[in-house]
């Protein structure tokens, strides 16, 4: 049975945090379990949380007229789900729906934002880590856009 600290540090985003920083971050987190079909957050709602998925699968989706709910990307174990808490206007841009039952660490984003404002060094460190994570996601999203398996010749 792992402590919250141990679980958090297993994620690539938080890997290498020193014990002090880890304690601060863990202080904003709690373990949650969510059934399949439920939503972690809804597009348009205020965004003040984010999740570190430990087990299960989450689909990030949006409603496209004529097509229905379209899953843009799924988030699995070890990955962070939710970034809109980081930047204004702090509103979810996509809906997160649980596909396979999820066990995750849910973080209070507002709490973490406050701690970063109080401790800029921690703030910069965390922001760098999230920036790296976002860069990876962006790169993957670009690959989806390039449509590498498609037949476009120009």
């Amino acid at each position: 049975m792992h402590t919250l600290d141990e679980l958090i540090v297993q994620s690539p985003v938080f890997d290498g945090l020193d014990p002090e920083q880890l304690e601060l971050v863990a202080g904003c987190g709690k373990n949650v379990a969510v059934d399949a079909g439920k939503r972690l957050f809804r597009e348009g709602d205020p965004a003040d949380t984010f999740f570190l998925v430990r087990h299960g699968l989450v689909a990030l989706e949006t409603y496209v007229p004529n097509r229905g709910q379209v899953t843009v990307v799924t988030v699995g174990p070890g990955e962070i789900c939710g970034w809109s808490w980081l930047v204004p206007p702090h509103r979810w841009r996509l809906t997160a729906r649980v596909v396979e039952p999820v066990r995750a660490v849910e973080f209070d984003g507002a709490c973490l934002r406050r701690k970063c404002e109080e401790d800029p060094v921690l703030g910069y460190d965390l922001l760098s880590r999230f920036a790296g994570d976002l860069a990876d996601h962006l790169q993957s999203a670009y690959m989806q856009v390039i449509d590498v398996y498609g037949d476009r010749t120009s």
Binding site: R67, V70, V99, M143, I146, V148
Partner: protein, 283 residues
Amino acid sequence: MAIALPERSAVARGAMTPLPYRVVRKRRENHDNWTLELEPVAEAIEPIGPGQFTMLYSFGVGEVPISTSGDLERGGTLVHTIRAVGAVTKALCATKAGDVVGVRGPFGNTWPIAAAEGRDLLLVGGGVGLPPLRPVVYHALAHREDFRRIAVLYGGRTPDDLLFRRELDRWRGRLDVDVTVDAAGAGWTGKVGVVTKLIPPAAFDPADAVAFVVGPEIMMRFTARALLERGVPAERIWISMERTMRCGVGLCGHCQLGPTLICRDGPVYRWDELAPLLEVPEL
């Protein structure tokens, strides 16, 4: 136990002359992919190895290079999985059992399966990159004790484009299988995202693994990068290259990529040897 490399024998028949093969079975894999099982009408080509290809000829239409996708452990028919995307492939995919097609080959080199023995084996396929890896899966299943962990990571464009879905499910119990699509419609309850995202959660020891990667060139480039970032050494990443091919025997010049002729020196290449060439656009 290593795969025996088929010998490059000097054939009395000219290298540009196909042998007639009959379609004995045809299976539709998805909306634009078919698997043909072929048997020689009379003379057969040399035994084909995993990673090698033949030039398949459709009467009067033309020829295309296609990798073998069959179970080479069992032998028997010559198996190719073909995507109907141009005149020749459409003609091949329109054949019926009993029709005759032409076969030249086998050409190219084979996957270095022996290099993976005693190690973790990672097979990463993108789109139509899975068929050339399937013979390796069959071999690994038939010689399971030769390898440690085996993982098949497969990415397709959409769920409708995935190949061998039933087989992937069958393999799931015996090896790690992870599948993702770039774009999903309703009804897909699996992963959505690029195939490189399957690498971080995959269970393998980067320091002691061998990876075979096949797919569109850009997918292979991104995948190799992701594997390198994970700690797999470049000398243990192998890819399968594709270029315009006409003769298949190194004499027409078309498949050149810098100093290498893909029909002759490839299509299987070690990543560190080919990477510098792939970094030059339009080489």
